[in-house]
């Protein structure tokens, strides 16, 4: 009997392997007329599938309209998405790098769009992209300012790397600080408590906010509380906030345990406004139902406009409607509008450059100037970072929204706000 089960196992394994080998060997070599876009994304996570869906939507629209005009010939985009699993805790970054190499070497990707999503992996991938001379546009995740700083420092080596999504330094200085100052002036608040995740961009961002708000005359309670990834209990932090009479709690975490934090805040009826510079759980439209309304009044920054409905540009609501029609849900996460824009920006650059040559494309991308879903899209020529602003006519606009009455209402920047910030009822003295 042992012999049979043993043969059974071996036969099954051999059949599986043989099937794959035959499949791969007999596939006719595809002479694709399409331009291959490689997308290394962590598709099992919000910050991966938001990009996957948006890129698919954009490419479908572009191909339906005829494709990309490369020096006279119209060619379609072809998207190859491979799951990197890089947002999963037990997976090494080398897996993500292997995926990037697979896309470049085996799938013959002409451009890399989207990821890798984790800052570590993206920084490591920069060297790979420089080695293979592939132009890449980051559209989701990766908030670390180190990315564009590295491009600026070693331009010739890293000129292939572009980032069309926001990053931590502008988020802090250009959006979070002005918004906080505004809240302070409007409601007379000046005590802030900071809770962040133990990740490089959160540490940097949180520390920066503490320093700047202190200079603006706010009372920063204690030092920023840093929580390791995977913490499930924030009680002590919230109790400290209550004891010290915090009026705004600044949260910077992209782990799912943020829902525990918010639920506890609501149950404790803490008289403080939860301000999420990044608060992963609150960014999805399903958040309201999932917490039975306990997420009301929470503010969340979704880095780029268009990830929550607003009227930044005429294209914004068109995009939101198209996304809703295609995927049956409003845009979620913070990589959606940027991932939607990236294929369009690429198309524009290819058409202006007239070829797929990396150096030509780089020059064309640096000269990009178009009105996109979240404002005017221009890249800084030295650091290849999209130029941000609070005015959609000038640059790429971010979005801070607040959950009000089951909806995500954009409240900042002023130019695109759809509503006003409200305080929870138990805070009004």
């Amino acid at each position: 009997m042992k012999k049979k089960s043993m043969w059974g196992v071996i036969i099954v394994v051999i059949v599986v392997i043989a099937a794959f080998v035959i499949y791969y060997a007999t596939r006719p070599p595809k002479i694709e007329p399409g331009i291959v876009i490689g997308c290394p994304l962590s598709t099992a996570f919000l910050y991966g599938w938001d990009a996957e869906r948006a890129i698919t939507l954009a490419v479908e629209e572009i191909n339906a309209a005829g494709g990309v005009n490369v020096a006279g010939k119209k060619r379609p985009f072809k998207v190859e998405v491979i799951d990197t699993r890089d947002l999963e805790p037990g997976v090494p970054v080398s897996e993500a790098l292997l995926v990037v190499e697979k896309l470049i070497l085996e799938k013959k990707a002409d451009f890399i769009l989207g990821g890798p999503v984790r800052s570590e992996a993206a920084l490591a991938a920069m060297d790979l992209l420089s080695k293979y001379k592939k132009v890449s546009i980051l559209t989701t995740g990766v908030l670390t300012p180190k990315y564009h700083a590295r491009v600026a420092k070693e331009y010739d080596k890293f000129k292939y790397c572009f980032r069309i999504t926001g990053e931590a330094v502008w988020m802090v200085t250009g959006e979070i600080i002005p918004c906080l100052v505004d809240i302070g002036q409007r409601f007379g608040l000046d005590r802030i408590f900071i809770m962040i995740q133990d990740v490089a961009h959160a540490r940097g961002g949180g520390g920066l906010i503490a320093k700047i708000m202190a200079k603006k005359g706010w009372h920063v309670i204690g030092k920023p509380e840093i929580y390791p990834t995977g913490t499930t209990d924030f009680s002590m932090g919230l109790i400290k906030a209550k004891k010290e009479k915090a009026q705004v709690i600044l949260i910077w975490m992209d782990m799912p345990e943020t829902s525990i934090l918010l639920k506890q805040w609501y149950d404790m009826k803490l008289p403080a406004l939860p301000f999420g510079s990044i608060i992963a759980a609150a960014e999805q439209p399903g958040f309201w139902k999932a917490t039975e309304g306990k997420g009301e009044y929470c503010l969340a920054n979704v880095v780029n406009a268009g990830n929550a409905p607003s009227n930044a540009t005429p294209w914004t609501m068109k995009f939101v409607e198209a996304y809703k029609k295609r995927w049956n849900i409003e845009p979620e996460g913070y990589g959606t509008s940027t991932s939607y824009m990236a294929p369009y920006v690429l198309k524009d650059a290819i058409e202006r450059a007239g070829s797929l040559e990396p150096d030509a494309i780089i020059k064309a991308l640096e000269a990009t100037d178009m009105m996109g879903v979240y404002g005017r899209i221009r890249f800084d020529p030295k650091s290849h970072q999209v130029i941000p602003s609070v005015d959609p006519e000038e640059g790429a606009v971010g979005s801070i929204f607040q959950w009000q009455a089951k909806k995500r209402v954009v409240v900042f920047p002023k130019k695109i706000a759809m509503g006003e910030i409200q305080l929870p009822p138990w805070m009004k003295k």
């Binding site: 996570f45 919000l46 829902s259 506890q264 149950d267 992963a280 999805q284």
Partner: protein, 288 residues
């Protein structure tokens, strides 16, 4: 005061997570590395009943516990029983099953942060000056009840006594006519049910995500090692030790050290007193 309250809550949470693992190891000496997966899958099964099918909450909890018990028993009966005795094969086999379940859930679409369970009782109460929400108090209450129930079960019912007998000395139990394989299946079923119970109690505090499985497994192992791998009371005590250590660390040292504390506790225990606080495997003390 706040340390006392939240320390107890944290410790009870850890104890609930660890008891399932401790039970299975104590009785059948099988390290069940699929513990985290069972935790997560019971959360999703309950979610399925409550949210997707609209079944009454209490009934869903009951059904989930039964289903999870059966799943655990099946895992043991078909897979672990064949590798029983070979410690490493057991670990790898149960870990692989756990991983298969977790990744299977992810592939099946259970991703994102919108899967939640409703709490049992809404609202919060102020103890002294400290706000505590009702559900956390419920966690402490039920946790204590579970510990008490386990104690009574293993001291006063036939099956419980048989389990205890097997935990103490398998050969002697066999001689008394206790079927060790059957008891091991029962132990595994009970362990899985405890994992399910822990999930049902702790998951309403936040949301259900697949990554929680890995964290729960590591915490359960940490608690069981510090408490001694064969002893249930040891696991509970160790849970309190680590739980309070974590809360104290957050309050006085800095919140970013809390995970390090839990993991360092293992290493210190193993270096200073390998069999744990109440460990019964004294042969581990015998160092070479």
């Amino acid at each position: 005061m706040d340390i006392l309250i939240y320390g107890t809550i944290n410790s009870m949470a850890l104890a609930l997570m660890a008891l399932g693992f401790a039970l299975v190891y104590g009785i059948s000496r099988v390290a069940n590395f699929a513990h985290g997966a069972l935790y997560v899958i019971s959360g999703f099964v309950t979610w399925g009943f409550v949210r997707a099918l609209g079944v009454n909450y209490l009934l869903s909890i009951f059904l989930t516990m039964i289903i999870i018990g059966v799943v655990g028993a099946l895992i043991y009966q078909f897979i672990l029983i064949r590798v029983r005795g070979m410690a490493i094969s057991e670990i790898i086999a149960s870990y692989a099953i756990g991983l298969a379940i977790l990744e299977g859930l992810r592939w099946g679409g259970f991703k994102g942060m919108t899967y939640t369970l409703p709490v049992f009782i809404e609202g919060s109460v102020d103890i002294g000056e400290i706000p505590v929400d009702f559900h956390r108090l419920v966690v402490v209450g039920i946790g204590a009840a579970v510990v008490a129930f386990l104690w009574l079960f293993t001291h006063h019912t036939r099956i419980g006594l048989a389990l205890r007998g097997m935990a103490q000395d398998e050969r002697a139990a066999l001689m008394l006519g206790i079927d060790s394989d059957l008891m091991a299946v029962v132990a595994m079923a009970l362990g899985s049910m405890l994992a399910g119970l822990a999930a049902i109690l702790l998951l309403p505090l936040g949301n259900i995500v697949v990554e929680a499985g890995y964290n729960v497994l590591i915490l359960a192992i940490a608690v069981c090692i510090v408490g001694g791998l064969g002893s249930w009371m040891g696991a509970v005590l160790a849970a309190f030790l680590i739980g309070f250590a974590q809360i104290l660390t957050v309050k006085y040292l800095g919140s970013h050290y809390q995970m390090v504390v839990a993991l360092l506790a293992i290493i210190f225990t193993l270096v200073l007193r390998p069999s744990g606080l109440f460990g019964q495997q004294k042969e581990l003390e015998e160092r070479v």
